[in-house]
Point group: D2
Chain length 135, copies 4
């Protein structure tokens, strides 16, 4: 089973726009929060991946916006790791209302693994093992 993280975020005015709802790119910033927290849960905080000499820039992103979040609402960001390939990793996200009754936004992102020279690199084995522990 895929690892999974739930993190709450409170909507502030900075997140909203003149339509009265959260501006569409701000949900994608919450995806980053979810990604950061699932990696921390797994014992491989992203800051540690960087100390190992790697970065994971976003190469693909997709979102479907189903229902808007509004000022002062609490939302729940649910993050899973969908797939770890040789040199890339795919996360998937659901943003729920506070009671997790309704999905507001769903999305996924693919990240390349890049070494210090900026070249595509294998996901380091110590990271891969934390994500897919050997049985």
């Amino acid at each position: 089973m895929s690892p999974n993280n739930l993190t709450k975020v409170r909507v502030i005015y900075a997140d909203t726009d003149a339509m009265g709802i959260v501006y569409h790119t701000n949900y994608i910033k919450w995806f980053e929060i979810g990604r950061s927290e699932i990696l921390r849960d797994l014992g491989i905080p992203y800051a540690q991946i960087e100390r190992l000499g790697y970065s994971w820039p976003v190469t693909e992103l997709s979102c479907r916006y189903l229902s808007p979040a509004r000022y002062d609402e609490l939302v729940v960001v649910e993050t899973s790791i969908l797939e770890v390939k040789r040199a890339s990793i795919k996360f998937t996200y659901l943003i729920w209302d506070e009671r997790q009754a309704k999905v507001l936004v769903e999305g996924d992102s693919v990240h390349a693994c890049i070494n210090k020279e900026g070249k595509i690199a294998r996901i380091p084995p110590e990271v891969r093992e934390k994500i897919n522990p050997p049985r």
Copy 2:
């Protein structure tokens, strides 16, 4: 042929992140600039669509990140209208380096047409005609 708009944007520090490149959601804000300018070119600025009683929230978004933009670079946002359906519209975007030699980011967005009651509504004919002029 589909209408097309080219708009230049200069990268500022606010757009970048600690990887030294533009943070991935900021390219998507530039998509909004392109969308805004292509509608203005067509004689239907988005503010006017709102005055007619409609809003066009984003319902789907996708991006592919090919090469990063960096601080102080000029980028060119190329925006086209890909498709106008009964109650939705799809834009497509290319973000180029200054000389338009290389695509940095490509993406598209789908927008629902919503009336003041928040219901899905037909794209108003006066808007549709500006996008697809009768021959």
Copy 3:
């Protein structure tokens, strides 16, 4: 004694810039988080102030940046209410490192009280009493 709120915020990449530190306006967004939480503590969430028919736009802001926050650090936003005048309110903020050993940023903001017609209005008494309870 003035009411006081402490709220933790985790720095994400979205908050940083190409200098490797938090971009200077993002600390000011955290001021908004602190303001929101101190009002909630006092039993007058800002959303309720809006339901009473008022808004509190920022009219003055000042910040001093002493030491930068970096990616993945936890910071503590300490918010106090400095002064409640007839038609305005002043908040003061300290942003601390995680252990509250060092102040990173200090600032304050003044907010006018505006009614639905956009006119300056008295802070409503039910709000004033929650901030300065009668003895």
Copy 4:
């Protein structure tokens, strides 16, 4: 006389909040645009200051918000250099409506000059001369 730059910015949805006006930190991002453009005018783009080995982080900021900007308005950012000290520089900003009939926001920022070791450093003479040319 102090050098001076005027740059136009078009308000997009990303800049606004659920009050229907520009969120207060976004004017401060436009200050960065003005700062960037006045330095370019003077022949010392900030990217060049960085190549010389310096950075100019913000150490103090203040703003007064007089009148809001709204979606799709063009605003004019007027930037001046107020003072160049030994190791710091102060900019001042006026954000005007499109016709420059009314000031919407006024502010100023102080920046320390920092060398690659992160130490306070003199503003390099080749930069100082461009700002205050010898007569």
